[in-house]
């Protein structure tokens, strides 16, 4: 055979494999409102940049007549490409081929590209759209999942790992996304659960739709499994693109700097920020007033909205923001918000992203449900994460910083490098009302008019302690600053911390409370 005819033969073979599950299955995929696996990859990576691996891989099933079937690419497409010019490793499960079910060779393709990403130190993007384990392949299918989980764990904190759920992701399959750094979901398309509605109905007799059980909104709002929620696949892909612009390729690099840009004038602190510490405001507007182009890219926007986390840039450098949100639940720390913040802090620390913490919270949320849900254990996560983080840590106390909440929110005592307070800050063991009630209990009770005395004592306490100067007098706060100077001071601090070195005792790893 000549080179030409061999090339033609290759072309024929490729065309066969590129058909995926065939026209009928593709039409079905489209009817479900979904893109095909290949379309997805091509939409995420730069034009002409995708290079596929393992197109000719054959499945390994021998039993149940599987040996008589061919499954193009064994139901998964993998390869390398670039996003904004930077290389990534990517794989996408192909639902049109045997329902994207995971067999031994399917898993081998995924672990191959994962190992590649780990060796080349580039981000890994996995697109999940699979019916689950390929039951015909038995334990080999489970082996495949296990290998993937192991590599997810090995790569954790070395390269950014992104999971995109664009179809069902059920049973054991959910644990690969759960082990990765960011999970993207799309409304009406993503479905994640350990046991589906059918099993729940047979075993428990409870009826629930797939969407209500494990749809995109459920994971974005209630479980916190998802980090980004989109209304369409294209919106999801632009979110991935934006996320990658904020984070480095791997843990030995810093995120790529951008041109510095001023915040938009529409966000002026004096207009946003209410004097009364009991009045709410949107902390995200304060963040927008501090960052380049007022561009704040929020993570887990819908989950535990009483704390706000996300990426932004200050003078071109990526920073991670953690901020209490007085707009929701008064900005308290609770089980979910502690968990949410702690994981984000650890991501930023692993990937050399400085942390800016904005503090305005009345403390941890009291209540039986919180205590029983383990607010001690979950609340401890945020203490651990901040203490452990060795990236530059800048804290700004805006208003309330009471009790355990003050300590938890990147205080000096957890080794924040820079702690600033606005003149409106109230740093105290508890709010003035509670404190006055305890300190002056005898005096209040003995008074002829207890309420009058109580109010007087509250005011007295407020004047004496509800300010930043007591903390400043002990050096717990480095400086009391004008709110309008905050951006300038954060930028300067980031610059000062550029060569920060932290020496820690030797250990294999810590044992965080999770």
């Amino acid at each position: 055979m000549s080179i030409r005819s061999k090339s033609n033969d290759l072309k024929k073979r490729m065309n066969n494999a590129l058909q995926g599950g065939g026209q009928k299955a593709i039409a079905k995929q489209i009817a479900m409102g979904k893109m095909t696996a290949r379309e997805r990859i091509l939409a995420i990576v730069d034009d002409e940049s995708f290079h596929e691996y393992d197109l000719f891989v054959e499945h390994a099933g021998k039993d149940f007549d599987m040996d008589k079937k061919t499954l193009p690419g064994d139901g998964v497409i993998s390869g390398t490409g670039t996003i904004n010019g930077y290389p990534v490793c990517i794989f996408a499960q192909d639902f049109t081929v045997a329902g994207g079910s995971l067999g031994y060779m399917h898993a081998k393709k995924i672990t191959k590209i994962m190992n590649h990403a780990l060796k080349m130190k580039v981000p890994l993007i996995g697109i999940n759209d699979s019916g689950g384990a390929r039951i015909q392949e038995g334990v080999n299918s489970l082996a495949g999942y296990g290998e993937i989980f192991y590599l997810n764990t090995l790569a954790s904190g070395v390269i950014p790992q992104i999971s995109v759920i664009l179809g069902p992701c059920a049973g054991g399959a959910v644990y690969s996304p759960a082990l990765t750094d960011f999970v993207f979901v799309v409304d009406n398309i993503s479905k994640m659960f350990i046991t589906g509605p059918e099993v729940i109905k047979t075993v428990l007799g409870e009826e629930i739709s797939m969407e209500e059980l494990g749809g995109a909104r459920v994971h974005a709002e209630i479980t916190g499994n998802a980090h980004f929620f989109a209304h369409s696949e294209y919106e999801c892909f632009s979110q991935i693109n934006k996320l990658l612009s904020f984070i480095p390729w791997n843990n030995s690099k810093k995120a790529e700097p951008f041109e510095t840009a001023s915040p938009k004038r529409a966000y002026s602190i004096s207009n946003i920020f209410p004097q009364d510490p009991k009045e709410p405001y949107d902390i995200r507007d304060i963040i927008r007033s501090l960052v380049d182009s007022s561009d704040f890219f929020e993570v887990q926007e819908l989950f535990a909205p009483n704390i706000v986390i996300g990426f932004a840039r200050i003078e071109g450098e990526t920073v991670g923001f953690v901020a209490n949100q007085p707009l929701v639940l008064a900005g308290v720390l609770d089980v979910d918000s502690s968990d949410k913040a702690a994981r984000f802090i650890r991501f930023c620390d692993a990937f050399n992203i400085p942390l800016v913490t904005l503090v305005d919270l009345p403390g941890y949320l009291p209540g039986i449900d919180q205590e029983h849900a383990g607010v001690i254990r979950h609340g401890a996560k945020i203490l651990y994460a901040y203490s452990e983080a060795s990236v530059a840590k800048i804290t700004v106390i805006l208003r309330k910083a009471y009790g355990g909440g003050y300590i938890a929110m990147s205080s000096r005592h957890l080794r924040a490098d820079f702690v600033f307070a606005w003149p409106t800050a109230e740093i105290a063991v508890m709010g003035p009302e509670g404190a006055a009630n305890i300190i002056f209990r005898a005096e209040i009770n003995a008074a002829e008019n207890p309420e009058e005395v109580r109010q007087k004592k509250v005011l007295e306490y407020k004047e004496k302690f509800a300010n930043p100067y007591v903390a400043a007098a002990f050096g717990h706060v480095d400086a009391v600053i004008k709110p309008t100077e905050t951006r300038k001071i954060i930028a300067h601090s980031l610059n000062v911390a550029i060569n920060k070195v932290v020496n820690r005792p030797n250990k294999k790893h810590g044992i965080p409370p999770f």
Partner: protein, 115 residues
Amino acid sequence: MEKKEKKDKRKVPVVNYENFTIHTAIYKTLLTKKFKNRKAYEVTDPKLVISEIPGTVRQVFVKKGQKVEAGEIMLELEAMKMYNKILAPEKGVIKTVHVKMGDSIPKKFVMVEMK
């Protein structure tokens, strides 16, 4: 021509804040759906033997009025591919048995009441 009123884009939408008490201070804020839907704490009655898991009753060993010792097997509940033995939590007398062989019961179902 009628002059159109210029809309103020930055006009803050009216938000109905709720009062949220933490210790003795009342804050104006929004409450999440998850917070509003949280379940109230219920004290469990030690006299009720409640299913921890949904399943099918395989066997019933006790009947009304019977005396049982703590740790005595009262029922066998098939759930999660296991025959789970349901034991008497304490020494006592059976007041009512709410299940019979073959019953499919949900989680948190009162199977036996004791006196």
